[in-house]
Symmetry: C2
């Protein structure tokens, strides 16, 4: 077993050796009251696959993760969080000590303006109005603070996928954005597969076939490695 | 291994043989749009423990389960669902073919009045108002339709625990209600332990110590078995 591990390690390309990678993954949870919260369908699989692959290829990897049911990838430091604001704080704290930031997390865009201390009671047919406010824009804050870091974003869209991703790519001053169409069946959230486009501008769109997420992770790391900075 | 299984089976009391048990478990999920949803912290562990224990003691068990990360208990038919309205439909469909209904599920009390077909976009600092309406009251519908069934409810409360549970016990015409205080640390949601009270009226409150959920399941099945109907 040890021999196998050593052999695998020797065969594995170490093209990410010496690089410090920060990955965000999973959903966030925004509490409504002590029982209920708003979240999303992200499983965290894409981010965990990128973290695991970068570690295998020699990088020092920190994974800031919302709540998922996934185990920590071997050799990766996992920092758990729940709310978007907590994830923001952790990203800003770790930013200066990383060379590459890959933001796969499906950060909740809206959070309840007031968190109720006690469980909200159902009262007959009475409706409930929930006032939500936008959560911190992590990529915007990263854009303002980054120095040498390569920053990669993800865009999960249900319509106008490429145009929305291009807008986000420019607005957030990203080096690369990974777009996927969440309205397509059999890929994306919860799945072990995805079908994505790697976008670096309107004339630089690479459409990948449907692939296992760990293979997408490998290709994405190849492309990030090749970005001349 | 086979010998052990046979021995265990022979040693196991079969005091639930011939009874058909319907258990609900887990949280429900109420979609906001294709990406986001409202849910709660229920892990489903209490309901899965009751289903497993009843099956071991000879019952034929159906488990209607919201999304959890738990595996199906051996010998138990698991029927998955997401929304409160789906759980209601499944409970009403299975009700006439059960003798005992144990409703452990943390059914969402409120759901968005309109489900957006496309992902809601963040637009700068603009807040979002979410109009929620009450979900179907499953226990109320069960009370109106039940014939011979024993019906057991759960009350997860963060304040006035016993009084709230007593109210629910009477209002929903339950045979027994299990109350737990979700504001207490180290028990309840997500935990393998819980600390509950079994309530059959203001003069009939049994307070159990903090116990593993599978032991609470065993005691609860003892009490339900002893209910004279």
């Amino acid at each position: 077993v040890i021999f196998d591990a050593v052999r695998k390690r020797l065969e594995q390309k170490q093209d990410w050796a010496g690089r410090r990678v920060l990955v965000t993954a999973g959903p966030t949870r925004e509490p409504i009251d002590p029982v209920r919260f708003i979240t999303n369908h992200s499983s965290g699989k894409m981010g965990y696959a990128i973290a695991a692959e970068a570690q295998k290829r020699g990088a020092v990897v920190t994974l800031i993760s919302g709540p998922t049911s996934l185990g920590a990838p071997a050799g990766v430091e996992v920092v758990p969080c729940q709310r978007a604001s907590e994830m923001r704080d952790l990203v800003m704290e770790h930013l200066e000590n990383c060379d590459v930031l890959v933001m796969t997390a499906a950060v909740g865009d809206f959070a309840p303006a007031d968190i109720q201390k006690e469980k909200i009671k159902k009262s007959g047919d009475r409706p409930l109005v929930l006032n939500l406010q936008p959560t911190p824009d992590i990529l915007k804050e990263v854009a303002a603070k980054k120095t040498h870091q390569i920053v990669v974003g993800f865009a999960a869209e249900s319509e106008n996928v490429v145009q929305s991703a291009l807008d986000k790519y420019q607005r957030k001053q990203l080096d690369l954005i990974v777009a996927n169409d969440i309205s397509a069946p059999g890929i994306g959230f919860q799945s072990d597969f995805n079908q994505v486009q790697l976008i670096r501008g309107v004339d630089n769109i690479e459409t990948l076939p449907r692939l296992p997420k760990h293979e997408i992770a490998g290709i994405l790391l190849d492309r990030i490695r090749d970005l001349s900075k």
